[in-house]
């Protein structure tokens, strides 16, 4: 194995380790916090989308 191949193999191993570990990292951020941190223009658009979908699906609320 050349030095380059070893470096590539090492990088792949590191990436795979990272991928394998990712699902175990669970950061709890509540939805209200996410909502509060949205840019104002995104929040206005989101509120309108949600308002419309609620109005169109009264049986779900």
């Amino acid at each position: 194995m050349t030095r380059t191949e070893a470096a590539v193999a090492g990088t792949i191993a590191l990436v795979m380790t990272g991928v394998a570990c990712t699902p175990t990292v669970r950061v709890q951020v509540d939805p209200i916090t996410i909502y509060a941190k949205l840019d104002a223009d995104v929040r206005i658009r989101l509120d309108q989308e949600v308002r419309d979908l609620i109005a169109q699906n009264p049986d779900l609320f």
Binding site: T33, I34, K37, L38, D47, V50, L53, D59, L60
Partner: protein
């Protein structure tokens, strides 16, 4: 737009997205099993009665949740599961349309409907505490 997004917030949103994606199939399978047995009207009537009885209630994430586990019945669980599955799809659509997440859409839904929760019914606030209107 991207330059104004705090990397920590973006990471948190990504994690929540993954968690929501992982949670969605359970809602979907619950809905599939009861969809044939229950009309939308029956579903809503069952949920509303259980809310009035204080067994379940609205939660800050935009879904209905269990408050009194020992009074849950299979019918209430099925109705609640179907309602939450329907909401999950709406929140996914709204989040996508607005360029954000389903979780943010759920929070928006709760904020918009909070004032309509009838007096006497229970809701779970954003700190996870059940409170009565």
């Amino acid at each position: 737009m991207m330059k104004r997004i705090n990397p920590a917030v973006a990471a948190a949103v990504a994690v929540i997205g993954l968690a929501a994606a992982a949670a969605a199939p359970s809602f979907a399978s619950a809905a599939a099993t009861v969809a044939t047995a229950m009309s939308r009207q029956d579903m809503r009537a069952t949920v509303n009665q259980a809310k009035a009885d204080g067994i379940i209630g609205e939660m800050a994430d935009g879904y209905v949740g269990v408050r009194l586990e020992d009074r849950m019945t299979p019918a209430i669980r099925a109705a609640m599961g179907e309602m939450n599955a329907g909401r999950a799809e709406l929140y996914r659509q709204a989040g996508q349309a607005a360029g954000t997440t389903a979780a943010a859409a759920g929070a928006s839904s709760y904020q918009q409907r909070f004032s309509a929760i009838p007096a006497g019914q229970w809701y779970r606030d954003d700190a996870g505490v059940w409170r009565q209107r």
